[in-house]
Every structure is written in structure tokens, then in C-alpha cells.
Amino acid sequence: MNINMIINPIPSTINVQDLLKKGEEIYQQELKSILEPGNNGKYVAIEAQSRKYFLGDTKEEAVAEAKKNFPDKIFVTRRIGEIEKIASYSQEFTPPSFSYDWVL
């Protein structure tokens, strides 16, 4: 049984940090000068492999637009201009280190 599937909804094939880094590089090198400041406050969803991007008034809109073109990809989203601020209930949780012995 794949333990990772039980405890984590993030696919093990995805390196989240690498994908975020690539998305940010694309934004800084290619998109920032095009999108800012005219689109500040909107959201961009970046498909890192093709370097294509999709805009939306909300993050969900940008992702929905991107999915029309790349239904099976995972996108890097970013608020144009300032970083997105989110509510506390979405707060990231860092679990204490523990072993999976109890599962086995």
C-alpha cells in the first residue's frame, strides 16, 4: 500500500519547491515586465514546462482558464504585484516529525 497516498494528497512525483522556483523564475524573467503594473491585483497561472500563462481576476479563474488548455498539468499561481495574503484557516501546518511505524 502506498503510505504517501494515505497521508498526503500532494502527488509524490511533484517536487513542490522546484516547481515553485521554476514558476517564479518565469514570472520574474518573462512576465513581470509585461504584467506589472497594468494587471496588479489579478492572478496568473503559469504552466512551467511550456512557459505559457493565463490570467484571472481570482486565482481560481486563472487556474480554470489554464486547465482548459492543459487539463492534466499542475500550475504555479501568483498574485500579480504584491504577494497574496490568505486567511488563517488555510494556514500551513508543519507536523512534528514522527515515524510511520504506527501504520505498519
Partner: protein, 132 residues
Amino acid sequence: MIGYFDAEDGKPKVVLSVKGTKRKEKQLTALFDTGHSGSLSLPIFDLIEIGAKLASIGRAQYADGRIGIDYLFSVKVKFNGIEKEVEASMIQNPQVTQAIAGVQLFSPFIALIDFRNKKLNLIKENDLRKKL
């Protein structure tokens, strides 16, 4: 009627069904938060249970100033007989089991919250205009 005020905590709640890539559909009760900027936030264990597919990742800043990662998952949501696909954000703290629904989820409905009489109604804009 999918909305009500919870007698236990006095907060508005809505009943939804959510579905991911698995065939299993899960019915859950979500807190209706008018300040929620998105459609839906789901606890991590609900996302795992329904097999929701990861759609996007992005950096975001929390209220305490920390920078974290916000994950969006593709989820099919059913309410009031309609089904729509939304991108739901993940509530990463496993101790939080309450789903949060935002106003964007209910578009094209308009939510009418009667705090005095503890009633929550969803109505289409055209139907509301007819009543006024």
C-alpha cells in the same frame, strides 16, 4: 434548503457534496464565510478521502506574516441540485475538520443571511428582483 444556522455555535452552515477523482462522493457541512475570497477550503483529510487532484501551487502570506504554500485542488461540488467544478484550497492543519465555503462558490446565487431570524437563503438574482 441547503443553508442553516448551527444551533451549537450560531454560525451559518451549508450542506454540500464533494467529489474528487474517486467515485466516492462525500457530503459535508461547511461554514459559510462571507469573508472567504475563494470558493471552498477543504480539510486535508476530506481531500484525501475523495481523491481530489492537485491543480496548482503558489506562495502566499499568512496573517502572521509567514510565507507558505497554498494548494488548490479540483473538486466537483453539488448543492441545490447543481454541480460545478471548483478549485478548492487545502486546509493544511489536520486538526481543522471544518470546511469553509465562500460566496464565490454559490455564484450565480445570492446569499441572503437573516441574522435576526437565523435564516440563510440562496436565491438567484433574477428571482430576488421579482420579489423586490
